[in-house]
Amino acid sequence: DVKVTQSSRYLVKRTGEKVFLECVQDMDHENMFWYRQDPGLGLRLIYFSYDVKMKEKGDIPEGYSVSREKKERFSLILESASTNQTSMYLCASSLRHPYEQYFGPGTRLTVT
């Protein structure tokens, strides 16, 4: 059973803080993804990685960065959190062909 875990279910941060969201998968998947999920907008891809130390920008990378030092771990970093980054963040992983992505439970981030 594929397991994708995210470090926090709920997070409250202040404007300007640096925020780290961690994602770990235990199925040796090559691809990992970070999305934000907003009502009426669906899932929007922030960044993805297809190998260790590799990363590619998604559709909305501004204000975010990522790190993938180990195959199983993919971190999303908000360098200076802003209120418009309040959202649900979903991590996902998949094998080489990303047609089936396995999702984590999500982290609901509130920036005040």
Partner: protein, 109 residues
């Protein structure tokens, strides 16, 4: 830009009624399309993919290239079908999925 459009934010039906969740995509050769579902308090998960042409939980989806659509259908809705449904397609580079905005299905008793 490749797009996936789900025109309905909410679809509300009674138990036993037929369901059709609409999905349209921008034309691009031979797309690979999927439906993902998120039940209340559960993770987003794959429901079905067009390439497998299977029926999952009574749901089917047929790719119509002429209408650039991939609507999700079920002949008789059940209360446990209530969830958020997302249509998605592989991007041209085959590295990522593009999701629609989602449709919330509410099945009433």
């Amino acid at each position: 830009a490749q797009r996936v459009t789900q025109p309905e934010k909410l679809l509300s039906v009674f138990k036993g009624a037929p369901v059709e969740l609409k999905c349209n995509y921008s034309y691009s050769g031979s797309p690979e399309l999927f439906w993902y579902v998120q039940y209340s308090r559960q993770r987003l998960q794959l429901l079905l993919r067009h390439i497998s042409r299977e029926s999952i939980k009574g749901f089917t989806a047929d790719l119509n290239k002429g209408e650039t659509s991939f609507h999700l259908k079920k002949p008789f809705a059940q209360e446990e079908d209530s969830a958020m449904y997302y249509c998605a397609r592989l991007s041209g580079g085959y590295n990522k999925l593009i999701f629609g905005a989602g449709t919330r299905l509410a099945v009433h008793p």
